[in-house]
Assembly symmetry: D2
Homo-oligomer: 328 residues x 4
């Protein structure tokens, strides 16, 4: 039996983690892509808990960077970047519920070289930006294209990297806000966390009726921190199963795999994101694993793990995790 049955989704989900109807959210069906996470757009798809969606996502540039000559400052039109599929309306979802998204697969689509990364002026973790405002001159703008298949990312003639895809931007709508898809927050969004990968179940706190699920920004792979601000961006087909959990309240995004549980914090400075993530992990261990606060704090100290998703977005996203082997 799969571990899914014993997951929070399997035990608490309205559909008990069982797969339901399949939906294809093609480019055509999507029509207009969206640039904010919010409740102000009409759903493109309505599903039941358990249903599976295959979404044709665009890359973070909306496909505008076709060759290394398509410099971001010329072909991009801020804030119309990082296009999102959705919103997907989940029947029965209400504020206070939890939406579970079990990621099945992520496949690149489109013409090779399908992977793109770039140095964008005043953007990235090792340069002055609009926020970490500097007087230094920006680095030169550079675009790099890479062939991406399930066998690997052809970074250069010298280096081929494993294909380890994940969803960069995934989440539900805030209640009354509409926030750029570039930003992560407690509802998800642009977390750029490599753990949001096939096999994982991601949990989101529902803020509005129908949950309004958005998805986009798939990455063929990425290092910790997404250092220059741009992963191996690619258009993709992302397939995931959605379930709905009633009676489980979470303050932010959580994630589960067969091996571990993870709480995700998004904030600046980076230590605040780490604090958010670890505090929620401790509270999760208290609520669902029978630890008292002190023991959970001690165990997180001796066995917790931190993954730095990004150190470049409007808020940095970090995941704090604990192996299930230590808390069973």
């Amino acid at each position: 039996m799969s571990w899914i049955a014993s997951s929070f989704m399997g035990r608490k989900g309205v559909a008990k983690g069982k797969p339901g109807k399949k939906h294809a959210l093609t480019e055509k069906k999507q029509g207009q892509y969206h640039y904010v996470y919010g409740p102000y757009e009409k759903p493109v798809l309505t599903i039941n808990p358990g249903d599976i969606v295959s979404a044709e996502t665009r890359d973070a540039f909306g496909g505008a960077i076709k060759t290394t000559k398509d410099l971001p400052s010329k072909v991009l039109n801020f804030p119309y970047v990082n296009p999102q599929n959705g919103p997907i309306f989940v029947k029965g979802a209400e504020k206070g519920d939890v939406l579970a998204v079990h990621i099945h697969s992520i496949e690149p689509r489109g013409e090779q070289p399908v992977g793109t990364t770039a140095l964008i002026p005043e953007f990235g973790g090792l340069v002055g930006t609009s926020t970490t405002a500097m007087l230094n001159k920006p680095l030169p703008e550079v675009v790099k294209k890479m062939k991406v298949t399930s066998k690997g990312v052809e970074f250069s003639k010298r280096v081929t990297l494993p294909y380890e895809p994940f969803i960069g931007t995934l989440g539900v709508s805030p209640e009354i806000e509409a926030v750029l898809s570039l930003q992560p927050d407690y509802w998800g969004g642009n977390m750029d966390l490599p753990d949001v990968a096939p096999g994982a179940i991601v949990y989101f706190p529902v803020q509005t009726k129908g949950a309004y699920l958005f998805v986009g920004d798939c990455h063929a792979r990425q290092g910790d921190g997404e250092l220059c601000g741009v992963a191996v961006e690619m258009p993709a087909t992302a397939t995931f199963q959605v379930d709905l959990i009633k009676g489980w309240s979470i303050p932010g995004v959580r994630l589960e795999t067969e091996e571990m549980i993870m709480s995700i914090g998004s904030a600046r400075p980076m230590e605040d994101a780490a604090r958010m993530a670890y505090r929620d992990l401790i509270r999760w261990m208290q609520a669902d694993y029978g630890f008292d606060e002190t023991e959970a704090y001690f165990l997180a100290t001796q066995a917790g793990r931190i993954r730095v998703g990004n150190m470049v977005d409007p808020k940095y996203s970090l995941g704090a995790s604990m192996l299930k082997a230590y808390i069973k």
Copy 2:
């Protein structure tokens, strides 16, 4: 002749800083107040450059804290806090323009004691919060009410403080986002900066047609940083004149008084807000006062001033200023 004639508003404004028609934006006319800065609501008022608006603002709690027994955790319903008047549509305003708001006066209104401050659990500059997440127990919840008149703020029997009112939340709409009125950003919003006071002209970068001006959250006074997160909040009548500047591009909020110019940055950590503010001040000195970058950087080093607006909101707001006497 008033200094207004020589201000940026007076020299560049469509109305040349000359007062136009008066509008009363009463509670009744406002009807529903708003909790986000965004382009998705219908304007409540349409004005021409030069027009003067008197807005009946509510306090940050929407008037829900009437006595010291009305504890915030009981009477407030997040995110429905910090209600705003508006949006006000300014004819002719388009993305890329600058909206000038010259504040004329701020008067308390309503029954005494009209001023409110409070300790709210997990909110404030010296306590753990949802962002600076801690395991410590919150401080006890406390509400303090104060009589406020133009003669002073009766803080306690022992202490009366000067009445030095300002507008806590003021700004234009983002282009496609709708962001909580609790948050400051490059379009303004909840900057909680005491310089946004009668006599000052505040400049905002217009992001959307009509500018969509919002206003609310008047304070009878406040110290630097708004330390516990709640100033002397009060319902008020705020009167201000609006002008529109074409052909002047600014990346964020700026402010001008007879004595000084100021650039405002909103970010976390606090040094990033300071960097944003100072960099923009230097660029302003380059563009409009004839300094080269190095001389402006040197002069800001020797004569710049920093005002900490708040150190409690989702982003901290700081103003970097230069006396006009030094750059004339």
Copy 3:
């Protein structure tokens, strides 16, 4: 009668704030200058509480920048920068006491142009540094020399700034550490806070027998934050009276003038420095002015002031202050 009599120094000092013997700590008497605050060097001077010292301080570059051609990267030899006079042994001082330093005057000395500022590669508030590590190219290195007299700082032909001198680096020795004079901390050091000026009394928590007072790095003036990292540096004669307070314990540096009291915090990120300063101010108001914690927190919220000393040193220094008029 001077306010000094009612100051903490006047009321609690061993010498009751009364001036004692005068000492000249000339360059010759100093001999070797020091580059760390620590207990490992032999005192150059031993004084009694009440004694007055006139110290011939060097500028932060040890006088190595004589013309605009003396580029810092060529003439400076890190870590041998920011030379300090001292240590001065104060008789009777022991760990747990407070050392009071009442600054009388600061006069420039040496050949004009006596003032120096500079852009130093990878140093400053608006550039990438060794800590805020960036890949951007550094700004060009620049030196600026200025004539400085008590009438003003001749910044340029266009701009003359007021002469508002202060001591950039002042403090006592840590107990067992020896820390670069470039760094501020709870014992003082390189706070670069313009309030450390003639007229002020600065209080330091003594960590070691004799206190080991160091002083150096006088500035003819400086803006908030010392933005490019270099104020108007000058060699000077700094005259100050030293007193010793028994039975008053403070966790960090405090300061008093006729008008206000101030607590100083040094930390990164900047909000931590602000938190340290404000928390100590509140505790001071509790201990010596009869407020309870909540009232002190509320009053700091409505009437506290923040001064940003520097945003460029290894730790940023901020002062949180309260007018005496509000707490008398």
Copy 4:
């Protein structure tokens, strides 16, 4: 053949990574332990490059916490915590060289339960501290003792964790400073990074003649960030081989294992530590692996890894690493 021969130590070391004479630095031989990293104490041992040292380290509390009743606030005497063995004088070492320390083994010593962790008031990653100053009440003080053997850490009846020991505090002396052993910096010190473990080679930039190597603070294991501020502290016998590299200049601490190279940054806020680590990793890839800056920046973005050592010390320490498989 071992990978050591192809390591930087093996290729560049004076001793070519070959083991030399063995030295036992027992408690008795050490005599007085030290609490600062500095050049002011006399060496306890002089060795040649290649020599192997077995040091009997004390735990971070100097053995003062023997039972769960020995509360830190009662038995510790700040700043006399985190005692260090050393300084060890390495013949031939001069400023500008690199000291290589190849860790062979770490064994617990002393009476069981030999492992200690604790909640210390105002210390830790999820509580207000002297730096992140809060008004909240501290958590209750708690001590936890654990049996530690090479088979595991007996965290509780329910949980046994793997024995994964490392050295918490290791480094060379600064040139003229003497800095608390609680603090990490570019010379090493209290990095609390689990990668400083048996099998790894750690590289330090020598600042002073003889290098003055210090070592202490062994941990039986620790999670990322050392969340509550105290790992599984234990007295230990740490055995390591020391080599000396001439003609290789590094700005901070680096580390190498058979699988990866890592650069370590120590700073606040946490993003600055990440920036320092990643920038140095990129420069290392440029200098020694033939990448240009842009390719190194891109590769770090797609394949770099971040390990959070501690988020509790005076500076946070992070390691940025790259698999050798990707850069061979």
